[in-house]
C-alpha cells in the first residue's frame, strides 16, 4: 500500500479566504458560474460560424428538468445581462406555466428586464414557436430542442449520423420523404420539419410548426437552438438560406385551415390553435402567439406577418 506524506489541513478561515481568492466573491444564489457561461458562448459562436452544425457542449444541470428547457436556459443565461430585455414563450404564450417559471428564474438570477412585446425583446427564449412579428437585426431567438439529431429516426448509430453529416450524405433522408409520399400521398412530417441550412447541413428546427419554418430563411435575427439533454448547440445566423426538404414537384405546405381565424383578433394569417367552442368540440381557433394577438386587437401589429414576409422573400429569390 502506498502511503503519502500528509500535512495538516489548513484552518477553515484560511480555506475560505483562499476559496474567495480563487473563485471571486460568493455569487448570488447561483445557477452556474462565469466559466461555464463562457463555454456555452463559445459553443454558440461555433454554431454560428458553421450554420446548422451541431456543436457538442458540456451541458450543465439546470434548476429545471432536462426536457423543460435546460438547454435553452443555459444559452439564455450565457447571453443575458442586467440590461437585457428577455421574453420567454412556450407554444407562443408568455403566460404558460413553463414560460413564466423560466422567465422568473432568469430574471431572479440575473436581474434583467421581463418583456412580452416581441419588438422590444433582445433575447427571446421559446419552445415550439417563432413569433409572428418578424425578427429584427440584433435580436436573438433561443429555441429549446428536445431532439437535436434530424437523422436519429433514420440511423441509430451516432458515428454513422456524424459521417452522414460530414459527407452531406442525406440520401436516406430523401428516401424517407419519398416513402412517405408513396405510402401517404404527402410528406407527413408535422412539427420539427427537417431543413437544409445554407445548402450544407440538414438540421431540425426544433418542434416548431411548419408555419414557422420559412421564417428561419434569411431572418434578420440570430436563432440559437440548444438541446440540454443531448448536449448540442446549433445556430442559424442572420441572412442564412434555410430550405425545408421537399421535392421540386411537391411544394412545402404550412398548416392552413381554410375559413379558420382567431376568435379574438380575427387574424387568418397567424398560426392558430384549436379551442373548445360553445358546443364543447374543438371548433374555434385562437392565435398561439398571444403577444401578437393582443397587439392585433390594439391595432399595434404589422399587417405583414413574419411568415408572409418570408414567403415573399422566397418568391422574390426564385424569380431572380
Amino acid at each position: 500500500m502506498t502511503t503519502y506524506p500528509t500535512t495538516e489541513m489548513p484552518s477553515t478561515d484560511t480555506a475560505v479566504r483562499r476559496t474567495d481568492r480563487l473563485a471571486g466573491p460568493a455569487p448570488r444564489p447561483g445557477i452556474f458560474d462565469e466559466l461555464s457561461k463562457r463555454e456555452i458562448r463559445r459553443a454558440v459562436l461555433s454554431g454560428i460560424a458553421i450554420p446548422g452544425y451541431q456543436v457538442p457542449f458540456g451541458s450543465r444541470e439546470m434548476p429545471v428538468a432536462r426536457g423543460w428547457g435546460s438547454g435553452g436556459l443555459q444559452v439564455t443565461l450565457s447571453l443575458v445581462g442586467q440590461d437585457t430585455r428577455l421574453k420567454v414563450i412556450d407554444q407562443g404564450e408568455d403566460a404558460g406555466v413553463n414560460a413564466s417559471n423560466l422567465r422568473r428564474l432568469v430574471v431572479g438570477h440575473v436581474g434583467c428586464e421581463e418583456e412580452t412585446d416581441t419588438r422590444e425583446a433582445d433575447v427571446i427564449q421559446s419552445r415550439h414557436r417563432i413569433p409572428e412579428q418578424p425578427l429584427q437585426d440584433g435580436q436573438v431567438l433561443v429555441l429549446q430542442v428536445p431532439g437535436a439529431e434530424p437523422l436519429a429516426g433514420i440511423v441509430k448509430n451516432m458515428d454513422e449520423q456524424r459521417r452522414m453529416h460530414a459527407e452531406a450524405d442525406y440520401s436516406k433522408m430523401w428516401v424517407r420523404l419519398y416513402e412517405d409520399i408513396v405510402h401517404n400521398g404527402l410528406i407527413t412530417n408535422a412539427a420539427g420539419y427537417p431543413v437544409l441550412v445554407e445548402g450544407r447541413y440538414v438540421m431540425t428546427p426544433s418542434p416548431i410548426p411548419r408555419w414557422d419554418v420559412p421564417k428561419l430563411n434569411h431572418s434578420e435575427g440570430v436563432t440559437v437552438l440548444s438541446a440540454g439533454r443531448e448536449k448540442r448547440i446549433f445556430a442559424v445566423p442572420p441572412h442564412t438560406l434555410v430550405e425545408p426538404l421537399t421535392f421540386e414537384d411537391r411544394p412545402f405546405e404550412v398548416e392552413r385551415t381554410p375559413g379558420a381565424a382567431c376568435r379574438l383578433c380575427g387574424s387568418d394569417d397567424t398560426y392558430i390553435v384549436q379551442e373548445p367552442g360553445p358546443d364543447g368540440t374543438f371548433s374555434t381557433w385562437v392565435c398561439s402567439d398571444t403577444d401578437f394577438c393582443r397587439r392585433r386587437r390594439a391595432g399595434d401589429a404589422p399587417e405583414v406577418t413574419a411568415l408572409e414576409a418570408a414567403l415573399a422573400h422566397t418568391r422574390e429569390e426564385s424569380t431572380i
Partner: protein, 381 residues
C-alpha cells in the same frame, strides 16, 4: 401581467398549516441512509448533509433529489481536483467474497439488511427497531459459527461506531498472481475523461463509461446488466462477484504551497469486482473476464450491476456491437437525462399537436380524394 402569474402561482405554496415539521437532515441520514446514499451515487457527489436536504426537499424522490444536488454542484466553481487514490486503501466496514469461503483477509459482514428473513414489523416504531437490530446481530453470530473454524476469520463487530476498519488485499490481485484473469486492457486513458464537462459519445475512453455508470440511475443500470439483450446468449453460468466492499476512501489534494498530498476528508464507497468467463470466437477461454464497479455510498445493487455491465463492455470491445452497447451505457442510463424525457411529456404541446393533426387530416383527405397515389409510376398529384 396578471395572466403571467396566474397559472404558476399555485405551484409554490408550501406553507399549508397541516404539514408536519420537516425532519432534520441528520434524522434523515440516520433513518433513510440508504436512500441518501443512492442520491449521492446518482449525483456523483459526496455530500451527506446536502444530499439529506435534497432528499427531504424532493419528498423522497431520488431522481428529483439528484437533480437538486447536481444543479447545486453545477452552480459552484471548481477549485481543484483530488489526487488519485488506490482502491486498495479502502478501509472496509463490510467486505464479502462470494467466490471464496474464506478469502484472504476474511469475510466482514458488517451492517446489512441481508441474511435475515424479514417481515414487516407492526410493533410501535422504536420497539420494532430495537428488535430488528437484535435479530440481525444474532443472525451474524449464527453465520459465523456454522461450520469449520478458520484462523483469521474474525468476528465482525456491529453497530456503526465500532465497525472493523481494515484494508484487506483484493481477491483480484490474488487472481492476477495466479494468472487466471484477463490482463488489464491497454487503455490509453491516463487523464480521466470528465463527463460533467464534455458530452460522452460512443468511442469515449473507459473512464467516461465507468463515470457514467457510477452516476447512473440504479434501476436503469440494473436493467442494462440483468435484463437487456446484451447478455451473450447461451452463456449459462453467471458472473461471480469476486469481492464486494463498502468502506472509506481518503480524499487527498495537493497542498497549494508545499505541493504535497494532504488528506482533507474521506468518502464512503461501494466497490465490486466480478469475474466471468465469456468465450469469444477466436479466443481461448483461458482467462476470466473482470468487471469493476464503484459508486458513492452503500449501494451494493448498483455496484454489482456496474461490475456486470463492465464485463459486458469488455466482452463487446472491438466488435461491431461495441458502439451499440456504449450508446446504451452513455445515453440511456443517466437518471436526469432519461427522466427528462418523461417529465417533458407533461409540458404543453398544443402548437406542435395542431401541426400533427393538420398532417393527419391532410393525409386522410388525400387517401379519400382524387389525388390518390396509385401503384403506377410517374404519377404526380
Amino acid at each position: 401581467m396578471s395572466t403571467m402569474n396566474a397559472p404558476a402561482a399555485s405551484v409554490t405554496s408550501a406553507s399549508a398549516p397541516s404539514v408536519p415539521a420537516a425532519p432534520r437532515p441528520d434524522q434523515l441520514t440516520e433513518r433513510l441512509g440508504l436512500g441518501i446514499d443512492r442520491v449521492m451515487a446518482e449525483s456523483g457527489l459526496w455530500a451527506p448533509q446536502l444530499a439529506a436536504r435534497a432528499f427531504g426537499q424532493a419528498r423522497g424522490d431520488v431522481t428529483r433529489a439528484t437533480q437538486l444536488l447536481r444543479t447545486h454542484r453545477t452552480s459552484l466553481p471548481r477549485l481543484g481536483r483530488s489526487l488519485p487514490v488506490r482502491a486498495g486503501e479502502l478501509r472496509v466496514v463490510r467486505r464479502i467474497s462470494s467466490a471464496f469461503r474464506n478469502p484472504p483477509g476474511g469475510q466482514v459482514l458488517g451492517r446489512t439488511l441481508d441474511y435475515v428473513g424479514r417481515l414487516l414489523d407492526l410493533l410501535p416504531e422504536e420497539e420494532g427497531r430495537q428488535r430488528a437490530v437484535l435479530a440481525s446481530e444474532s443472525a451474524h453470530e449464527h453465520h459465523d459459527h456454522h461450520g469449520h473454524e478458520h484462523p483469521g476469520h474474525e468476528h465482525p463487530q456491529h453497530g456503526h461506531e465500532d465497525e472493523v476498519e481494515r484494508a484487506p488485499g483484493h481477491v483480484l490481485s490474488v487472481f492476477r498472481e495466479m494468472d487466471i484473469v484477463a490482463p488489464p486492457g491497454d487503455h490509453d486513458d491516463p487523464e480521466p475523461y470528465d463527463i460533467t464537462r464534455h458530452p460522452a459519445r460512443p468511442g469515449v475512453p473507459r473512464s467516461a463509461l465507468l463515470q457514467t455508470m457510477a452516476r447512473a440511475d440504479t434501476g436503469a443500470l440494473l436493467y442494462l446488466w440483468y435484463g437487456s439483450e446484451w447478455k451473450p446468449g447461451g452463456q449459462e453460468a453467471h458472473e461471480v462477484p469476486g469481492e464486494l466492499r463498502h468502506g472509506f476512501l481518503p480524499i487527498r489534494v495537493e497542498h497549494p504551497h508545499t505541493g504535497r498530498p494532504v488528506t482533507v476528508g474521506d468518502v464512503r464507497v461501494s466497490e465490486v469486482v466480478s469475474f466471468h468467463s465469456l468465450t469469444r470466437a477466436s479466443e481461448l477461454p483461458r482467462h476470466l473476464d473482470v468487471g469493476y464497479g464503484m459508486c458513492f455510498g452503500h449501494n451494493e445493487r448498483k455496484a454489482i450491476s456496474m461490475a456486470g455491465a463492465d464485463i459486458l463492455l469488455g466482452h463487446y470491445e472491438g466488435t461491431e456491437r461495441a458502439a451499440g452497447l456504449q450508446h446504451d451505457v452513455l445515453l440511456t442510463l443517466d437518471g436526469l437525462d432519461i427522466t427528462g424525457y418523461t417529465e417533458h411529456q407533461k409540458l404543453p404541446h398544443h402548437a406542435e399537436y395542431r401541426s400533427v393533426l393538420e398532417r393527419a387530416t391532410a393525409a386522410a383527405a388525400h387517401q379519400a380524394g382524387p389525388h390518390r397515389t396509385g401503384p403506377h409510376p410517374g404519377d404526380t398529384a
